[in-house]
Structures are given as structure tokens and as C-alpha cells.
Amino acid sequence: MKFLPYEDVPLYLAVSGQEGEHIFAESATLSIEHSTAPTRHIEDNILRICEFGTGSTMIYDSPDFLANETYTGVVGPSGGPPMTLSTSIFEIPSGTKITFPNGKHLHFNSTIHPNGHDYLVELYSKSGGWNLTEGEAQSGYFEPIYNYVTQSPVQGSLSVNFYINTGNLQSFFNITGLSNPNQYPPIDEEKITGYLGEFVFSDAYLTSFQFGLSPNSISQASANFQVYGTLSKDSSITDSYFSSSLYGQQSIPHGQYSAVEGSEDLGLNHVTSFSYAINVDRSPRYSIPTGVNDDNIGLVPDRVSKKSTTVQMSIEGENLDPNILSDGFNGKRANLKASIRDLSYSWAEENANGFMHMFECSGIIKNQSLSVNSAGYLNGAISVEQLLK
């Protein structure tokens, strides 16, 4: 195992069941969160000894302990019946000290993983010439290693900063697109598969996509996915990575010829930058295993539904008109369109597509601002929001 440099870590995405492509990403983070909680039971850290023996009499009679001699004890209250070690304990390591009142100590002689049937324990003393009273034997304090339980499905997220291009814009980064044109209702809940480095995932769902653009700069985008299911490792991925399509020329949006329509109605004749974001509220559905508790049920969601889909488009420019302070009740409406173009080189094969995609937002002005600072100009900014679905 070694550290892989950035250029050796591929990011590949595909709509499930379809051909995908490598993403030219500046950064990518795959993180996974496991919601767990420790289990604790009543007096699970207290060892009560009701008999030194195998539990045939439940009559307490302390031995006179000898150094490094082992003794079998029965767990439970004085007089019995015995009780088992708590199943909240994952492990009691061999040698774990048990502290009784009056400075007396015993130790577990072997490592124990309680299974609900541990009535007997094997103990030893490091010193000799002493014994335990029946009362003292009811109060052995020890510190085990506790179990944890999973509280909810394990869920991950994939965050990507990347350069959009003609290949990825229409498919897996298109929240409102359809992988099957004939689908009804026309809401695509198809999952995304792919890999980051050598780690393969098969149940990713896009939740947000945003990008910005300003004059004389290329566009950079970011996207977030919810990731479920299993993450497997396939070392052969990096072997074929360098022959992939990633190193072919791509057409990348640029601020040079991209344009925003509809900004004049908002008092902005000279747009200096715009940003676009689309978010969708998604909820997974996990099914509960039935009578035989199938291990394959409940780990991966059966469905990740799409609920509210919201578009936000923000532009900045030299002015602000109208203002929603006096004219915004029930939402001042605005229509913005951003046509995304590459550099439209007529003499080259790359960056020569011209028009690439149109992003629209027909909603209400959510907020606006005016700002100025020293050595600067008065700037206006408007943000428009549309509930799309």
C-alpha cells in the first residue's frame, strides 16, 4: 500500500446500468458516517460472586487465595440463582482487574466475550493469604470493553469539485434529467455508480449541484451525492485508468461567451458574475427484514425518493432595480436564463462547441443587496429562487 498522488486517483461516475465517464475533478471527498451508540446494562461493570465452584450449591465459601492460583466463580447475587455476565460487554480482556472493597483485587484469567450464558468466570489472585467475605464478593468493580449498536443505516457522502463539460452535464449531474425518456412520472430516481480511486460504490444519489461563472474565467462546479450500500476495493481500476477518456479534449464552459438573459429587468445591464445551484430533498426507504432476518435486506435503500427540488440563481452587477423592500410582497417575480458556452474557437477541435447548455430560473427574488467599499464600485446582487418540483 502506498499514497496515491492526485493524478493517479480516478473519479468515475455513471448512471446505473449505463456507460459513464471519468470526471476532471479538482477535489473529491468520500466520507462515511456510522451512527452508533454504546450499550450499557444495569450493573454490567459489577461482578457479583455467589459461589466459588461451578454452581452446584450456591453456598458461598471463600477460598484462602494463593498467589497466581486460578479459581472458578459463579456470577450472581448471594444465595443464587446465578446470573450471566452482561451482553453489553464486548470483551473482558484477560488480566482485567476486579476491585473489591477494602483493597482486595482479583483478575480475570482469560479473555471473555459474553454471549448471554456466562454464569461462570475464571479468576486469579496476584497475592495470597487473604479471602473475600460474602458481602465484599457482591461488589467487584471492573472496567470491560463495551459493545456498540448501529442506530441507523450507514450513510456516506461524495463531494466533488470539478469542471463541467458536455459529457457530464446532461447525465449524472442533471438533477432534473431522465435516464429513461419514457419514464412516468417523469422523475428520475436512478442511482449513480462509480469509483473514487480504487473504491467502488454502487448506490449514490445526487442531492445538489452548483457552479458559478464570471467574465474571462472558466467555470468550476461542485456536486454532492448521498452514498449508500457497500464500498468495495478493486485494485485493477488504476491499471486501466490512463487509457480512459479523461485525457481526451473536453469542451469547458467559459465566461467569455456565456450570457445571462433577463438581468435587465432587474436593473443589471452589466452582469459581473452569476451562480447557479439546484438542490433536491431526498429520503431513503429501508425495508425491515422479515421472519428469517435476511442479511441482505435493510442495508441498501429500496428507494431514495425525490421531494422538493429548488433552483437558486444569483447575479451581481452595477445596480439594483426594483427593490423587494417596497415591492416584494408575495414574491417579486424574476426570470433568468444563463446560456453556457465554451470559447467557441472556430479554428480548433476542442472548445469549439459554442452553446453547451441553458440553465433557467423563473421564480421570485429571494434576497438582494447593495454594497460598496473603498477603491471599489457600488455593486448590486440579486438571488432568485424557484421551486422546480
Binding site: 440463582p81 450464558h117 428507494r303
Partner: protein, 376 residues
């Protein structure tokens, strides 16, 4: 109004995690002067089960088929007479349903269900299923000691052929068997499914030794549960619990509640009713401080939850069992004072109702009411 009728003839979607099964027993109780009580169930159908299920994130079509199926049981049909002159189609016909782990398929009615449309093409359905006519006669579970009618025996010879007696045995791998007369136990390394009077090699792992000899085993082909699927996955100490005074006539509930427990005390007493102003309080009976506990067993594994549920079901909501609560709550038989329960070093309870929630995989919560009673 009915939802658009579909041809759904069963429930085609699985419920979401968080499903709950509730059990309640209906019993009559007689309480005597010293707080000794006796209970008996009101009938063979007196241990009831209901399921509270959430079917989340359903598409419109899934929702339509589910609601349509649930509604279909109530749709009126032209009355029809059978040959004996009775209506034969008036009854709400129960449907077969396979609940979540660890329960087995049973017949249910659904008389309470609701739909929540949370967004376009996103629906949540809540439904309560009630088990129809479950019979306590279906519960075949051994008591506190070897029962030759329903239990089996193994003439254990570790690593060699061991003969089964009494009844055929079905021990899955990792079952635990107990030596007679003490608490030494051993884990069975592989499945031990052997017909009565037959023998099979028995390989066991016993950290404290396991002498050859005849042992008792509950995991027989006769064992049966009202609600639990495959009860032979569960195993308990099969003998009468050993006590310093001998053995008990009830089984011990060997599961520890979760750490946070609330213990409320409501001592029993007598109060005079001479007039409204002056009241005189008097001590009452040998056993005034009997407890009424609400215990939670959180974060239990699949198998432990199943063992708890089978134990409670086997006691049918009225049979008593032994239980150690906290080390502070313990009396003594040699104590000369009148402890409550009177001169006992452990407590006995019955459990009239309990709930089981399947939180997530290998994570179950069981909450139960334990009512203390006297062991005589």
C-alpha cells in the same frame, strides 16, 4: 371513498425500520390479604399481538396497491347463504402476513390504517395489524426443569456419538447446552439435528469442562411458539434454577435491563375512612413493597431479542419467573426482619404486556412491565 381499486392480493412492500410489535395478556387476578395474588388468562386467545407498521416513501402506485388491499377486506358483498342457512361472507377475512424478524407468518386483520402524502409521488402509510385468534395452546415451551413429554436428552460423549432420547432434537450450531446439577455449559460446534433414539457425533467447546453424561435439552421438534419463528434458535438453562435452599419452581429471567432504570415505590397500606379530615394509616400485610417496574432492554442483538421475546411469550403474560433487579434490592432468608417479599432473597415477577421495536439491523428495543408477585 375507496382508493382506486387494484388487483393487489397481498402486501407487496416491506415496512420500514421502527416497526413495533405489542403483546398484551388479558387475565383475571385475585389478590389475597398478604398481597399474594393469583392470575389466570381469560381464554386461550388472551395473549394478543398487534403490529404497528410504517410503510415509508411509497410511490403513488405502491401506495395505491397497499391501501387498496387493506380497504378490500371491508368492501361489502351481496350476502350469501351457505347450506346451513348462515351468511358465509359477512366476516372480515383475515389475511396472511409475514411480520418482521423474529416473528412467523400469521393471520392478521388491519382495522386501522392511514396515508400521509408528504410530496408528489411520496407517501407514508401507517397501519396496525392485529393477530387473529392466536391460541396459547400453540405455545409448547418447557418449564423450569426437564419435562420428559416435550424435552429431549443427550447422552453426551464429547467428540463421539451421543444418543438422543425423549424427543428428536434440533440444535443449530453455536447452541449452548448445560451440564445437569451445576452451571457448566458447552457450545455445540455444528448443527445437531438427531432423531430420537439415534446418535450423532457431538463436538462441543466447554471452557469449564463438561463431563460425559445425560443432559436435558429444550430444542426439540415439539417445541413451538405462538408468534416466534423457529424457537429452536433460542436456548436457556434447562434445569430448575439452583438456589442456596434448593431449586426454584420457576425459570429465571437472565437478561439485564438497560442501565437507566426508574424504580418507583408504592408501598401498600391501609387507610381509615372514619371521616374526611382525620386519616389513620396502618401497615398492611407481609409484603407491602412489591414493585411495578417498567423496564427497557435497549440495543439488543437479533438473537438476544428473540430469546427475550420467546421467554416472555412462554410465560403467557401471567406465569411468574425469577428476576434479579439491582444488588441493592435483595433480602435474605436468614434475615430475622420481615423483608418484602417476606424472607426471600430474590424477586418474582410476571409480565402482562411488552413491546418490541426493531430499530435497525441487530438493534432491538424491548420494553416490558414486570409486576412483582409472591412465590407461594
Amino acid at each position: 371513498m375507496d382508493i382506486k381499486n387494484t388487483d393487489a392480493s397481498s402486501i407487496e412492500v416491506l415496512p420500514s425500520f421502527g416497526a413495533t410489535a405489542s403483546f398484551t395478556s388479558l387475565s383475571n387476578s385475585i389478590t389475597y390479604g398478604d398481597n399474594h395474588s393469583q392470575r389466570h388468562l381469560r381464554g386461550i386467545n388472551a395473549l394478543k399481538m398487534s403490529l404497528s407498521l410504517n410503510f415509508n416513501e411509497l410511490t403513488d402506485i405502491e401506495n395505491q396497491r397497499l391501501i387498496s388491499f387493506l380497504q378490500s377486506h371491508f368492501i361489502y358483498e351481496l350476502q350469501n347463504y351457505d347450506s346451513a342457512g348462515f351468511f358465509d361472507n359477512k366476516r372480515i377475512t383475515p389475511f396472511d402476513y409475514q411480520p418482521f424478524y423474529p416473528y412467523k407468518q400469521n393471520k392478521f386483520n388491519c382495522i386501522d390504517f392511514s396515508q400521509d402524502r408528504s410530496y408528489y409521488n411520496v407517501n407514508n402509510v401507517k397501519a396496525t395489524f392485529t393477530a387473529v385468534a392466536p391460541s396459547i395452546l400453540s405455545s409448547v415451551e418447557s418449564g423450569p426443569d426437564h419435562n420428559p413429554v416435550i424435552d429431549g436428552t443427550i447422552a453426551v460423549v464429547d467428540g463421539a456419538n451421543s444418543t438422543v432420547g425423549g424427543n428428536s432434537l434440533n440444535l443449530p450450531a453455536n447452541s449452548v447446552v448445560y451440564h445437569s446439577g451445576d452451571y457448566r455449559n458447552a457450545t455445540v460446534d455444528s448443527d445437531f439435528n438427531v432423531a430420537v433414539d439415534s446418535a450423532q457425533a457431538l463436538n462441543i467447546s466447554a471452557p469449564f469442562g463438561f463431563p460425559d453424561g445425560t443432559i436435558s435439552c429444550n430444542q426439540t421438534s415439539l417445541r413451538n411458539s405462538i408468534y416466534i419463528h423457529n424457537p429452536n434458535d433460542c436456548f436457556y438453562y434447562p434445569y430448575a434454577p439452583i438456589h442456596e435452599d434448593g431449586t426454584l419452581s420457576v425459570r429465571m429471567f437472565d437478561f439485564r435491563p438497560s442501565e437507566s432504570v426508574s424504580i418507583s415505590n408504592s408501598p401498600k397500606y391501609r387507610q381509615s375512612t372514619i371521616d374526611d379530615i382525620y386519616k389513620k394509616f396502618s401497615k398492611y400485610g407481609f409484603n407491602p413493597n412489591l414493585m411495578n417496574l417498567r423496564l427497557s432492554f435497549n440495543g439488543r442483538s437479533d438473537l438476544e431479542a428473540k430469546r427475550i421475546l420467546l421467554f416472555l411469550e412462554a410465560h403467557l403474560g401471567y406465569k411468574k419467573f425469577g428476576f434479579h433487579l439491582l444488588r441493592d434490592y435483595v433480602g435474605g432468608t436468614s434475615d430475622t426482619t420481615f423483608h418484602s417479599p417476606h424472607r426471600k432473597s430474590l424477586s418474582f415477577y410476571y409480565c402482562p404486556e411488552w413491546q418490541h421495536t426493531f430499530n435497525y439491523k441487530d438493534n432491538h428495543t424491548i420494553s416490558a412491565s414486570f409486576i412483582e408477585c409472591i412465590d407461594y
